[in-house]
Symmetry: C2
Subunit: 338 residues, 2 copies
């Protein structure tokens, strides 16, 4: 790790000159010194010290991806196929823009804020925020923030959101089920807030259009914790006897359900139709292949980072609510009732 100072000494010039060459401030340096310096830089493979650079410039070239963990939900958040695809897209975009990514996972917002400010990160990507979490962060952190999949209306005054047509996506696929002749349709999810609530609303709207009033019992609540999921799935399979179809809030749950149904000798779609949401590898590889709502998760990450970079550069963005679209992917898990 050679430093600018050392280079300057060996070349018998000042650190300023070396620094200028490094930063291409070429107008202020004579051609021959430029040549000399650049040659030497290449020879010793000079790499700047980020800590020093950041300290001097009061920036960091770091973008943080902060994720609030719901402690109970996953032992390993990154194993959620949605999260890993998202992080993959984010990482790639951050890297290609010449920035560095740090990941903070915590169930404690305060902890996340401390990490963010201790590294003086240039921009913040927020995921998994509930209620006014995002607002609380934005009150203490005064640099660009982009939220992913938040439904906090109030929050939009404080930061940009990259979201999805969740309501419409679930409406579309529920309507598809209806068109296939289903009317006894259950909805499966693990909670009723944020994204899940929006999707639930889409389901309700489609049902109401055909005059079916959704009852509380039509909401099937899955408990995804490792020690509870089996009991939970057993109950759900039981309850599903009253229905001809079930709309799941995610592909993961849809596939977990199909496995459970299979183990009980129930066939999809002959005995029960199942649809998911997300369109990830799990549903694509399962047989019968899952009918679902497609969203481009990687793209979501890319858009979020690009938006954040614009904000960092001080550019204007058209709107602080960016909605990505969905599309129906019809495969083999829905039976047409005659």
């Amino acid at each position: 790790m050679i430093t600018i100072k050392e280079i300057a000494a060996k070349l018998n010039m000042s650190t300023t000159t070396v620094s200028n060459v490094i930063h291409g401030k070429t107008k202020e340096v004579s051609p021959q010194t430029i040549e000399r310096v650049e040659e030497f830089l290449k020879k010793v493979d000079y790499v700047p010290n980020m800590n020093a650079r950041n300290l001097a410039q009061n920036e960091s070239k770091v973008i943080a991806f902060a994720m609030k963990a719901r402690k109970d939900k996953y032992t390993n958040l990154l194993m959620d196929p949605f999260v890993s695809e998202l992080v993959g897209g984010i990482e790639e975009t951050v890297r290609n823009a010449g920035y560095y990514m740090m990941i903070y996972i915590s169930s404690d917002i305060t902890e996340i804020m401390r990490q963010v400010s201790t590294w003086n990160v240039d921009g913040l990507l927020l995921f998994g925020m509930l209620n006014d979490d995002g607002i609380r962060v934005s009150e203490r952190y005064h640099k660009p923030i982009v939220c992913l999949d938040t439904y906090s209306i109030e929050g939009l005054k404080h930061f940009t959101n990259v979201g999805l047509e969740d309501e419409k996506g679930m409406y579309d696929i529920t309507k598809y089920l209806i068109e296939c002749g289903h009317c006894k349709i259950a909805f499966l999810s693990d909670n009723q807030s944020g994204v899940d609530l929006a999707r639930y609303n889409g389901y309700c709207r489609a049902m109401q259009e055909i005059g079916v009033k959704v009852k509380p019992r039509d909401f099937l609540c899955i408990q995804p914790e490792a020690d509870k999921i089996n009991d939970s799935l057993a109950q759900i399979c039981d309850r599903l006897q009253e229905y001809t179809a079930v709309a799941c809030v995610s592909d993961l749950y849809a596939v977990q359900l199909m496995s459970a149904l299979h183990d009980r000798g129930l066939r999809v779609p002959e005995d029960l139709s199942v649809v998911g949401f997300d369109d990830n590898t799990l549903g694509q590889l399962y047989r019968p292949a899952l009918t679902t709502v497609h969203q481009d998760v990687k793209q979501k990450g890319v858009v979020a980072v690009e938006t954040l970079l614009k904000l960092i550069r001080g550019e204007q963005i058209p709107s602080n609510q960016i909605m990505l679209g969905t599309s129906l992917v019809i495969r083999d898990t829905v039976k047409t009732l005659s």
Copy 2:
């Protein structure tokens, strides 16, 4: 972002005293000043500036996870269930140890080395290194390195490796197939080096024990690139008519194969027995559930980080080759031939 200097000014004392209290050098400060300082720190929620701290101490509290991307293999490396589970374990352990994690993904080793030294990271986790990649890194980076799943013998002189009983695992499951009456067994993988080679060797050893000489045509080569995989699977399904069982180098490939077989009307395990390696969600949720070799991927990440932390602290480690075990998971994709 309040600084130590500002705090010292407001409290009418020196920065040294404040710094001492922050670092718990309590023996050198009077109890009442400690009290005063700590109270104030809490009140203003002091957060140190990492860049400044690292610069002063010549460390970084950063652990890098560097992954060499084989450009062709995955658009999104993190989507590989193995990788995401591994990274999840690493992230958690790094965080709990009070360190920060940075991820570098590149197909270019030089690029990785530059990133590592520009941030002056305290320790390096290397994954996906081929041949002497790891050695080349260790020649330029003179801090602790832990490699994951490398098979470079030479490398062990330069760094520690956390690996798996790949050969034994594949030997065990091939032997299980044999015990079930199979002898026409193919092996499916996308290359023949590193981990894949070790597993292939395990397969060969089991076959040779029953006097079957493995022929080159018994090695089925899958092409995982998105635009080639379908053709590749079609060919493989064709070739598999000569066999009663196939041992796949990973669960991912096993499940992709089972999907392809299903689409051609071939049943698992009635028409063909299939086994995998890794034991991830994909194989657990598929039906029929995949018989496979279990490895604890998260644990692999945890062990790697713990080893690296020991090296960073200057502690001795018993051996620089740490081998994790495997176990057979018998589920429903192998038919017993009578």
